[in-house]
């Protein structure tokens, strides 16, 4: 599945939820799963700065594809983070850079992306895109 297809799948999943409680319960469940990041990367170096909740992000390039792992100390943020990781991880940096990420808006989570919320999410998306850009350049050089 490409990124757009994965986004579509998430949107379909969420369209099943009629009220906010179900939507957030689902996110909380997603967030409660095992941490997505290797403990050794939960350091200040991998912390996304400027957030109310702490978000750790680790990205690596393998066989031309970018793999993400992340975690957060706020459960809802963690749930959304896991959505992002599932959609974006394992694709080429170029594909990631082109991702629209409309789905976060479509499923009614746009308020979590507002830069003024300082909740780590928009900073995290920015950081992912930065990694993608760096990896993209790296790939071109090889």
């Amino acid at each position: 599945m490409n990124i757009a297809e994965k986004e579509q799948e998430v949107m379909e999943e969420f369209s099943m939820f009629e009220d906010w409680m179900d939507k957030y319960s689902y996110l909380i469940e997603l967030g409660k799963d095992l941490p997505l990041i290797n403990e050794k990367y939960k350091t200040n170096q991998h912390l996304i700065s400027g957030c109310q909740s702490r978000v750790w992000l680790y990205a690596e390039l393998k066989d031309g594809k970018m793999f993400l792992s992340a975690d957060s100390d706020a459960i809802i943020t963690k749930g959304i983070v896991s959505l992002l990781v599932n959609v974006l991880s394992g694709h080429t940096p170029s594909e990631i850079l082109e991702a629209k990420l409309d789905f976060l808006d479509q499923i009614g989570l746009k308020e979590h992306l507002s830069p003024t919320r300082a909740n780590g999410l928009s900073s995290m998306v920015k950081q992912i895109m930065l990694y993608a850009r760096v990896f993209q350049i790296k790939l071109k050089e090889e």
Binding site: Y24, I28, S53, I75, A118, N119
Partner: protein, 152 residues
């Protein structure tokens, strides 16, 4: 506000007009007047009593919530109530309360040294004003319980 401007130099109007360039904030000034009259009419003492009542009632109810930790026990508190519940991140609690139509502030409240002092990442803070009611306090505490239930 200027007096004379040429390519060689600029002189400014006398005080206070020097610092009053442009159209003054007329709507703002009139709005402020209306607000002041309103507060005066209602009476600062009544406002204080009402807010204090809300604070005491909210504190009393919130203290009974399982796992609650109220932050700040000063004797003469203004009508703000900061709290945490059992290891739940304030941002999570705030998000769910928001979904239930309740506005609170979460985080370090521009007071990081204070949060460090308490050893916490931040708090959830309810702020009561003259337009809040006791019923709203009930709704608030019920919402907190519901949110906690979802997050634990």
């Amino acid at each position: 506000m200027i007096d004379q401007v040429s390519f060689e130099k600029t002189t400014f109007n006398e005080l206070p007009y020097k610092y009053e360039a442009g159209t003054p904030n007329v709507a703002g000034a009139l709005g402020l007047e209306a607000a002041l009259r309103y507060v005066e009419q209602t009476g600062l003492d009544s406002i204080f009593e009402h807010e204090d009542k809300l604070l005491r009632y909210a504190t009393e109810k919130l203290e009974k919530v399982d796992g609650i930790r109220i932050i700040g026990h000063a004797k003469e508190k203004a009508a703000v109530l900061s709290f945490l519940v059992n290891g739940i991140h304030p941002f999570d609690l705030g998000t769910l309360l928001d979904q239930m139509g309740i506005a609170v502030r979460t985080g370090h409240h521009c007071a990081q040294p204070l949060m460090d002092f308490y050893g916490i990442p931040g708090t959830v803070r309810a702020s009561f004003a003259m337009y809040n009611t006791l019923e709203e306090v009930d709704i608030f505490v019920d919402a907190v319980k519901k949110a906690v239930g979802m997050l634990q």
